[in-house]
């Protein structure tokens, strides 16, 4: 696991943990007891802000997303403020801060005030367990995967509070939808991650990165179906656009955000990006080898590899958001229960069988590549077979436009024969 070039010298920037440890040890000798903890917090905040939060959140998240989606939809996107419009997110933030945050008179004031704050906290807490490098993880706890799942179930409560407290029926619809979606999509999500856990035999995120490094293979190849299920489920839980039925502006104004304005709305908007980034970082850690890259991490800083991978994964979110149409609420629920959940169960069965066979062979290294090959083929076959079993028969070459009900889609009850 220890790459041959990484040393523990403070100037070795391939692992910034060395530098921070050196600074803190030096400070501990000079300063009185306890001050070093405050210093560590400040140092971590400044470093993570400069290295990750600012470039990711503002320039990849807000600016890059709008530019790329603009490009996909044949328009320019923000290009007025600063060079190439790069200062647009800062202008937006200034606008949001000075805008009045309205509260309806009949709203539940306290709950409406607290909801954005509760929404922000888990987005920050999630990063505590994500390893940026070998020594660059804040809390390397043995149950970090579970920690991530637990903390990422908290924002649902905050969005529910936001939707309910505004005393607006569209907000309440949004809250209702988000709660039902959280219930539906949590189970296939956990099943997909369980597949990855069964292969590695650990629920520590650092352990998963170490596994990918040891066997020189990404979990995405061993568990392709799990990655796809994870991506779809996490898009649904995060309200990303193809599946953002909780704030569908064509149906229910803005869902739970209807009555929010100013910086309160800005916190929700900003942290949506924050959650998507955290989900990308988590997916990269579990499925794409984290901060390792088949030995490249010995030459390039691992945290740079991790950040690059995270941003590339985040591009998938932008891509689906820019190109796919929104699903209807009942279609989305049916998809979770009738499609993703059975696929997750099948995937778990396959991977458990493989794990048993693998354990009998004393975890032979070559076998995992065979399993990867088998799983890639099986995943495609499984998705195809389950879709056929459910009666989805896509037309390869459609020759004329048709109504949904003509190809076997939804027909309202009163129109049925």
């Amino acid at each position: 696991m220890t790459p041959f070039l990484v040393s523990d010298k403070w100037y070795d920037i391939r692992d910034l943990g060395n530098l921070s440890r050196a600074i803190l040890e030096a400070a501990d000798r000079i300063l009185p007891f306890g001050v070093v903890y405050v210093l560590a917090a400040v140092l971590g905040f400044v470093a993570s802000f400069l290295l990750f939060v600012l470039p990711s959140q503002l320039f990849v998240g807000v600016y890059g997303e709008r530019r790329i989606i603009g490009r996909m939809q044949s328009r320019l996107g923000p290009n007025r403020v600063g060079p190439f419009g790069l200062l647009q997110p800062i202008a937006d933030a200034i606008k949001l801060i000075q805008k009045e945050a309205l509260t309806p008179t009949q709203a539940d004031r306290a709950v409406m005030y607290v909801a954005p704050i509760i929404f922000v906290m888990p987005a920050v807490l999630l990063w505590a367990v994500i390893p940026f490098g070998e020594n660059m993880v804040i809390a390397d706890i043995p149950v970090s995967l579970l920690y991530f799942l637990a903390v990422s179930s908290l924002p649902v409560i905050a969005t529910f509070m936001a939707g309910w407290s505004a005393n607006n029926k569209y907000s309440l619809f949004g809250a209702m939808r988000i709660v039902s979606m959280a219930i539906s999509y949590e189970s296939p999500l956990v099943l997909a991650l369980l597949g990855a856990v069964v292969v590695t035999g650990t629920i520590s995120l650092s352990g998963m990165v170490a596994w990918a490094d040891e066997f020189n293979i990404w979990m995405a190849f061993v568990q392709p179906l799990a990655l796809v299920i994870y991506f779809i489920c996490v898009s649904a839980e995060l309200n990303r656009t193809p599946v953002d039925i909780a704030e569908a502006e064509s149906e229910i104004v803005a869902g739970y955000l209807t009555e929010y304005s100013g910086m309160k709305w800005g916190l929700f908007y900003g942290m949506d990006i924050g959650y998507a980034l955290a989900a990308s970082g988590f997916a990269v850690t579990v499925f794409l080898g984290g901060w390792t890259f088949f030995g490249l991490e010995q030459w390039v800083p691992g945290w740079l590899i991790f950040i690059a991978k995270t941003h590339l994964f985040y591009f998938l979110f932008i891509w689906t958001r820019g190109t796919l149409p929104r699903l209807r609420a009942d279609q989305l629920m049916a998809f979770a229960w009738k499609f993703l959940l059975p696929l997750g169960v099948f995937n778990l069965l396959i991977v458990s069988t493989e794990r048993m066979l693998w354990a009998e062979q004393d975890y032979a290294k070559g076998l995992i590549y065979l399993f990867a090959l088998i799983n890639i083929v099986l995943s495609g076959a499984l998705v195809y077979a389950w879709a056929r079993f459910n009666g989805y028969r896509p037309e390869r070459t459609p020759t004329r436009p048709r109504l949904v009900k003509q190809v076997g889609g939804y027909i309202p009850i009163e129109e049925r024969p």
């Binding site: 706890i141 149950v143 579970l146 179930s153 309910w164 709660v179």
Partner: protein, 172 residues
């Protein structure tokens, strides 16, 4: 629990949990009560962390905050006029009586049990050991529980389906 940090954490968590639990009882609004209940669950998870039972703490947050609280919220949303202004005091007296009885039983049990006191801090519950135990030694109860839960799930779906929905499924 030795040292300043754990003691401080214990007292802060105790205050949080107790105040939130009080809020559950005092608040007139059913939804506020549920939000306080969630805060109580989080506080209890904090106690598990203090006892270095990380796995249990995470399970507590996932199951109670992520699933049960969300289900309770769902139930409240589906019940007409349950969300706002429903301070119902008819049952206050029986409720207080029940609470006093429960408290008496708990105090009696706590007082009369010979508690094991462990000198060292517990080593923490190993998630791997727990998993191994569940899938080898206790595999039969584990599987029976899963089958029971699945049966309950299917039964709930069958009970709540309306004839229209069944007609809908038959056509699709």
């Amino acid at each position: 629990m030795e040292g300043f940090g754990p003691s401080l954490a214990f007292w802060v968590l105790s205050a949080l949990t107790l105040i939130a639990a009080g809020g559950v009882m005092v608040s007139r609004n059913l939804l506020h009560a549920v939000l306080f209940l969630i805060l109580t669950f989080v506080g209890v998870a904090g106690f598990f962390v203090l006892l270095s039972a990380d796995f249990i703490a995470m399970a507590q947050v996932i199951i109670y905050v992520g699933a049960i609280a969300v289900l309770v919220l769902f139930a409240i949303l589906l019940t007409p006029r349950s969300g706002r202004d429903n301070g119902e005091t008819r049952w206050a007296l029986p409720g207080i009586l029940l609470a006093v009885c429960l408290a008496a039983i708990f105090l009696f049990v706590v007082h009369d049990t010979a508690w094991d006191t462990v000198g060292d801090a517990p080593a923490g519950l190993d998630a791997r050991a727990l998993g191994t135990a569940l899938l080898t030694t206790w595999v039969v109860p584990f599987e029976i529980a899963s089958v029971l839960l699945t049966a309950a799930l299917v039964g709930a779906i069958m009970l709540t389906r309306s004839p229209e929905e069944e007609a809908e499924d038959a056509l699709v």
